[in-house]
Amino acid sequence: MQQHRELSEQQINVQLLNGTLATPRWWKWAVLGLLIIVLAGFSTFGFMINKGLGVTGLNRPVFWGTLITTFVFWVGISHAGIMISAILRLTQAEWRRPVTRAAELLTVFSLITALSFPVIHAGRPWRIIYWILPYDFSRGIWPNVRSPLVWDPAAIGTYLTGSILFLYVALLPDLGNLRDRTVGWRNRLYSLLSLGWRGNSRQWRMQTTAGILLSALMLPIFVSVHSIVSWDFAVTPSVEGWHSTIFAPYFVIGAVHSGVSAVVTMMALMRWLWKWDNFIRPEHFDALARLLIVVGTAWFAFTLIELLYSFYTLEAQELAFRDMQIFQWPWAFLFIVFLITGFFIPVPAWLFKRVRNSIPWMFWTSISVNIGMWLERFLIIVPALSRKQPFVYTWGSYHPSLTEMMMIVWSLAFVGMNMLLFARFFPLIPLFEQKEAQAFSSRIQIGRASVPAVLREQEQE
C-alpha cells in the first residue's frame, strides 16, 4: 500500500517550492476573488457598527446567534494544528509530517478569525479594549476576572501566541532554504526571518528541543481553550441547555473532530492545487481517516451522553427546549442534518478502505463533518436561549439576517485568502520534515517479505 517514491533532496526542493518561487496561474484569480468577499465582509462590519446590531436577527431572549456560533466554530477548527503537530509529534506518528505546517497555519488563521467574532458581535466594538486588555486605563477598573468572557481572550491569546511560535520554529529550516534560493527583497526578508539559520547540528538540536517543548506546553493550552469557550455556556445555570458538566470535554473532542476534518479538506485542496501528489498521498488520508473514526465516534458518544443527561431531570423547561431542538420545524430539520452530516455520513464511510484512500471522497466527507459541527454549535446555542426558563411569556425564536450570513462567508474567505497569501511566500509543506521522513524510513526483511519500517532513535542506557 505504501507507495513511497524516493525523491532526491533536489526534487523535494523544486516540487515543494513550486508555489513559493513561482506563481501558479490560478493563484492571482483565487486571491482576487477571495479579496472581494473579504472586503465585502469588512463593509458589512462597518454597516453593523454604523447602524447598530439591529441589523442582525438577534432579539430577546436570543441574544447570541450565528456570530457566536461561528466564533465557536473557528475556535474548534483551530484545534487542528496542535492535534496534528503536537500530539502526533509526541506520539511519533510518521504520517503527520506533510500536514504539520498547513495544520498549524490553519490554527493561526482560524484563531485570528475566531477572535474577530466577539468584536463584531459586541454592542460597542470600539470599546472592546476595556474587555480584552488587562489594564485599568484611566477608569480605575480592571477587567472582571470572574467573567468567562475574560478567560476567553486570555486562553485564545495564549494559544495564538504559542501557535505562532510553534509555526515559526518549524519554519526556520525552510526559511534558511528559501534565503539561499532567492535574490532581492525576498532574500533580505528571508535572511531576516531565518535568524541566521545555517543548519548546523547545534541549531538543529535547539530547533528540535524547542519543537518538543512547545508541543508539550501547548497541549494543556489546547485543551483549555475550547474548555473555556464551552464554559462561556456551561457555567450559566439560567440556561438549562447550557448548564452541563460534560461541555468542556465534549467541546474539545468536537473541536478535534472538526479541526482534523478541516485539515483533510485542506490536504485535498493542496494536492489538487499545487499538484503535490508525491507528498500528500492516499496513505496520509487513510491514517487521518482512521484517527477521525475514533475521534468522531467518541464525539458522538459524548453527544448521546449529553442528550441522555439533558432528559435526566425531566424538568418542564428542559423538555420544552429539547422538544423544540429535536422535534420542531425548522430545528428538527437542522438537527437531522447535523446528525447525518456530522456523524452518519462520514464515520461509516470512513470504515471502508476505498473511501479512506479516495481523495474526492475524503474531501467531501470532511466538508460534511464541518457542516455538521457548525450546526451542532448553532443547535446548542440558539434553542437553549429561546426556551430559557419556565416563563413561557418570554420564549422566542431566531433566524439569522443577511448581515450575519455575510460574516460567515467573510470568515471562510478570510481564512482562505490568508492561507493563499502565506503559501505564496512560505512553503505549505515543510521541506525538512519531508527529508527527515525519508532519512528515517527503512524496510525490514522478514523471510521473503519486505515490511516498511521507521527508525526510532534511542537513548543509550
Binding site: K51, G52, L53, G54, T56, L58, N59, R60, P61, V62, F63, W64, P118, H121, A122, G123, R124, P125, R127, I128, Y130, W131, R139, I141, P143, N144, R146, S147, P148, L149, V150, D232, V235, T236, P237, S238, V239, L385, K388, Q389, P390, F391, V392, Y393, T394, G396
Partner: protein, 246 residues
Amino acid sequence: MVQPAQQIAAHHWGMTVDVDRCTGCQACVVACQAENNLPINLEEHFHQKRAFEWIRVERYWEGEFPNIKARFIPILCQHCENAPCEPVCPVYATYHNDQGMNVQVYNRCVGTRYCANGCPYQVRFFNYWEPVWPEALRNQLNPDVTVRSRGVMEKCSFCVQRIRRARIEAKRDGRAVADGEIQPACVQACPTNTLVFGDLNDPNSKVSKLRNGRRAYRLLNDALRTEPNVYYLARVDNDEAEVAHG
C-alpha cells in the same frame, strides 16, 4: 485613591409584588416607560422581540373555557443578591451596590450581552438600535435619567434617581428617609397598590412586614438560589375547589 466608606449601608431596598391585587392594567409599564426614557416600542419592535419593558405584566391563562382565568404577574429586575448577571460581565458594567441593588453602568458596557443570557428572569434589554424619539417628544425626556445609546444593556434600576433624590433631601433636612417616601414610577402609578417599595433593613417598613408574611415567595429561588430582593405575594383564590384544580 480609595475613599474610606463614608457611611455604612443603612438601606437595603426591596419590593413586594402582590399578585393577588394585580389587574394587569399596565399602568406600571407606561409609567416606567415615561420615567426612565425608554425608547418608543413600535409594533415592529414587538415583532422583532426587541421591545423595552423594564417592568412587564405577563399574562397566563389557567383552566379551560369557560372556567378560564387570566393570571397576571408583573416581572421586573429582581435585584438578586446572588445575581447570575453580575459575575459574568467582563467590564463590571453591572454590579451589586451597597444598598442591595443590582445596578447597571451604561458607560462601561461594551455590549457582550452575556448578562442577558445569565438572567433567568429575562429582564435585561439590549439597545439594538439607536433610540429615537419624535421631535414632539424630545422635551419630555427625564433629565435625571441617562439616554442610552445603541449597543448597551439596560434594565430596571428601581428608579435609582428617585432614591438618590430622596436621600439627598433627607440628608439636607437632617432626618432619615421615611418609609414610603421613595416610590419608583411603577409603584407610584399602580392603582391597586400591588407594588410596594421600601427598605428591607427596616423591620417596621411596610415592605418588610409584607415579605415576612405567609404568602411571600421569590421567583425561581428554590432552584437557582438567586436570592432576589423582589418578593411575590401568592394569589389567594376564594374558590377552594378551583385552587385545588389549578
